[in-house]
């Protein structure tokens, strides 16, 4: 982010600032009632604010409510959070490890089955997840992946990998093959070129693709629900079990919704720290092309 500012005007115009503030408000506004709801005990229409807050009733309820419940061991929020993050990290890592070679081939070579390969990469995005999920469920039950972590990771890769490959392909298409040619003439073999030239040059794309895979994985409910057989809980399955009971949004669910958004923000923050470019989807060289592709 730092060096992309090079060459831009120092200060945005007043109109641009207002626009940015409005956009920011549009993204943040939905969270405000959630935060309020997560601390409320009674909040009915048409009251603007809750009539009773959680801290007013803390001593009256027989069991912990809202944040008290979520943060108590009874809720098992900790293990769901850990599951979500761990599965998301493994999915992101596997998506990059398989996605980088796949994207390289798609971007650099022409082969006869290329169109077919690209079609199958789109399929998981087009076909409803429930079809994929039921199919995988039937298969996984037979091969012993039902109710296992590897089973869930594999299921998550199905929607995550196409996004990762799309982003990485755009990145490779924008990478001048001349860099690798120069490196060859300077004595760099295949491995050295990958390590010292190609990977550093696509760092922003790697961060973006990894982030997408992670975000997709941490948001998946249906596939996890089917493959876990209720045995392994993640934040989305936990949230849906609360929402599924129907009724008004209670403080516990509101709190859970807030927590579900934590892993993504955390990952974005860390990726930005490590590469200095995790946030740069729009400013990365591949950014413009990546948008057209979708």
């Amino acid at each position: 982010m730092r060096q992309e500012l090079h060459g831009m005007p120092d200060r945005p115009s007043a109109a641009a600032r207002v626009f940015v503030i409005l956009m920011f408000a549009a993204f943040v506004a939905p969270f405000v009632p959630l935060v309020v709801a997560s601390f409320s005990f009674r909040w009915h229409w048409p009251d603007l604010l809750p009539t009773r807050w959680l801290w007013n009733v803390r001593d009256e309820t027989p069991f912990p409510v809202g944040w008290d419940y979520l943060l108590s061991p009874v809720s098992r929020l900790g293990s769901a959070f850990a599951n979500t993050v761990a599965i998301g990290l493994v999915v992101a890592a596997l998506a990059l490890m398989t996605g980088v070679p796949a994207a390289y081939v798609l971007a650099r070579y022409d082969f006869r089955a290329k169109g077919v390969a690209e079609f199958f990469l789109l399929l998981p995005i087009i076909v409803p997840q429930v079809s994929i999920g039921i199919g995988m469920l039937l298969l996984f039950m037979r091969v012993g992946l039902f109710r296992t972590y590897p089973g869930i990771v594999l299921a998550h890769l199905v929607p995550a990998l196409p996004y990762a490959i799309r982003i990485l392909t755009a990145m490779f298409q924008n990478l001048d093959p001349g860099y690798e040619e120069v490196a060859r003439t300077l004595g760099a073999d295949r491995l050295a070129r990958l390590r010292h030239v190609t990977l550093p040059l696509i760092a922003a794309g790697l961060a973006t693709a990894g982030l997408f895979a992670f975000l997709i994985s941490t948001n998946i409910f249906l596939l996890t629900f089917l493959i876990s057989g209720g045995r392994i809980a993640t934040l989305p399955t936990m949230l849906f079990s609360h929402i599924g009971s129907g009724g008004p949004l209670d403080a516990t669910t509101a709190g859970l919704v807030l927590i579900v958004s934590v892993p993504g923000l955390l990952f974005l923050f860390i990726a930005d720290r490590i590469t200095g470019s995790g946030l740069s989807l729009a400013t990365a060289p591949a950014g413009s092309r990546a948008k057209e592709d979708r």
């Binding site: 001048d176 001349g178 040619e181 120069v182």
Partner: protein
């Protein structure tokens, strides 16, 4: 330092041959300029010498030993491309030191050599900068330093000046010349700019459609072009078509010209001759003119610091004359142009030249 020899190189990309049966030899420590219009196959030739492309047939030898089996990373070459292609995540020193790092040298040990190469391109003070902080010309100089840091036996330059403005070109040209002379490195230089190639090369060749049309010293190519195509491409010359009336006498649109070249050509044939701009003489109209002189009118005058270029209309044909600056003829002035018989050169037709050897 090695000599470079190409024997019968042929290359095609799913279609007609881009390079057809190409033979080429570059002596140890010399600069060879490969000149041609875009798409003539000169960059393809360079990439095959580098190993970045594989020829379909033929052999490439450094000092007589075939290098075809070696990948580019083992050929000990340095190459500068049209774009600088500096690694954007590395600073200048790391970019220049890249080749040494690939040889397993630690940055600390590589530093003296890197600094030495940066000094050669006059960029010692920029070692800590990153590529995006440099101008295009500076980037290309870093690319040159990076290409020679590993002491390659062959230096390949693929139009390294084409993206620079004219003042920077001149500077970069002198730098390349200086680096080459100091390292005595065998160099092949690809260009579409005749001036660039002639100033840098010890020997040069003009390439059309994957074949060498003519090769030799720059002086020979400019003064003794063999074909119309070569003469037209190198430029700075008047091309005239004429019929041979008798041995040593041509009928041309500007009038009959006595020539010393066309003696072997039978009468009645149509030929093309070339006379260089600076070999013509321009004089005021007077009585008692020397032979081979033609009256004309000055149509255009372009003044240069060391010479003046006149366009003279003779019998509805425009002839260009480059003359010394001691006399000036204004526009629309009648003048006499003399064509010295010994400077008229007979050319082969373009299609005939393609089948001629070398």
């Amino acid at each position: 330092m090695s000599s470079i020899t190409l024997v019968g190189i042929t290359k095609s990309y799913d279609g007609p041959a881009v390079i057809a049966d190409l033979d080429l030899h570059v002596d140890t420590g010399t600069v060879f300029g490969l000149l041609g219009p875009s798409g003539c196959g000169k960059t393809t030739t360079l990439k095959m010498i580098a190993g970045l492309l594989e020829p379909d047939a033929g052999d490439i030898r450094f000092d007589g030993a075939s290098v075809l089996a070696l990948p580019p990373e083992k050929r000990r070459i340095g190459m500068v491309f049209q774009q600088p292609l500096l690694f954007p995540h590395l600073n200048v020193e790391q970019n220049v030191g890249f080749g040494l790092r690939m040889q397993g040298m630690r940055p600390r040990d590589a530093r003296p050599r890197v600094r030495d190469c940066l000094a050669m391109v006059q960029l010692e003070r920029f070692a800590e900068r990153f590529p995006h902080q440099l101008s295009g010309g500076q980037q290309q100089r870093v690319a040159l330093a990076r290409a020679v840091v590993t002491d390659p036996v062959v230096l390949l330059l693929d139009e390294p000046l084409s993206n620079l403005d004219s003042r920077l070109r001149e500077q970069m040209r002198q730098l390349i010349r200086g680096v080459q002379e100091r390292l005595k490195i065998t160099t092949i230089f690809v260009s579409h700019d005749q001036e660039e190639a002639s100033e840098l090369s010890d020997r040069m060749a003009v390439m059309f459609d994957g074949r060498l049309a003519q090769s030799g010293r720059p002086y020979d190519l400019f003064m003794r072009p063999e074909s119309t195509a070569v003469a037209r491409f190198l430029g700075s010359t008047n091309l005239l078509e004429g019929h041979v009336r008798a041995p040593g006498l041509l009928d041309t649109p500007i009038g009959p010209i006595a020539v010393s070249c066309a003696h072997g050509v039978e009468a009645g044939r149509t030929v093309t001759v070339s006379v260089r701009w600076e070999h013509l003489a321009i004089r005021p109209v007077s009585a008692g003119e020397p032979p081979n002189s033609f009256c004309g009118i000055v149509r255009d005058v372009v003044f240069g610091p060391t010479r003046i270029r006149y366009t003279v209309e003779i019998n509805d044909v425009e002839i260009i004359v480059v003359a010394p600056t001691d006399l000036e003829y204004p526009r629309n002035e009648p003048v006499v142009v003399e064509i010295p018989a010994r400077h008229v050169r007979l050319l082969q037709e373009a299609h005939a030249s393609a089948t001629l050897p070398g």
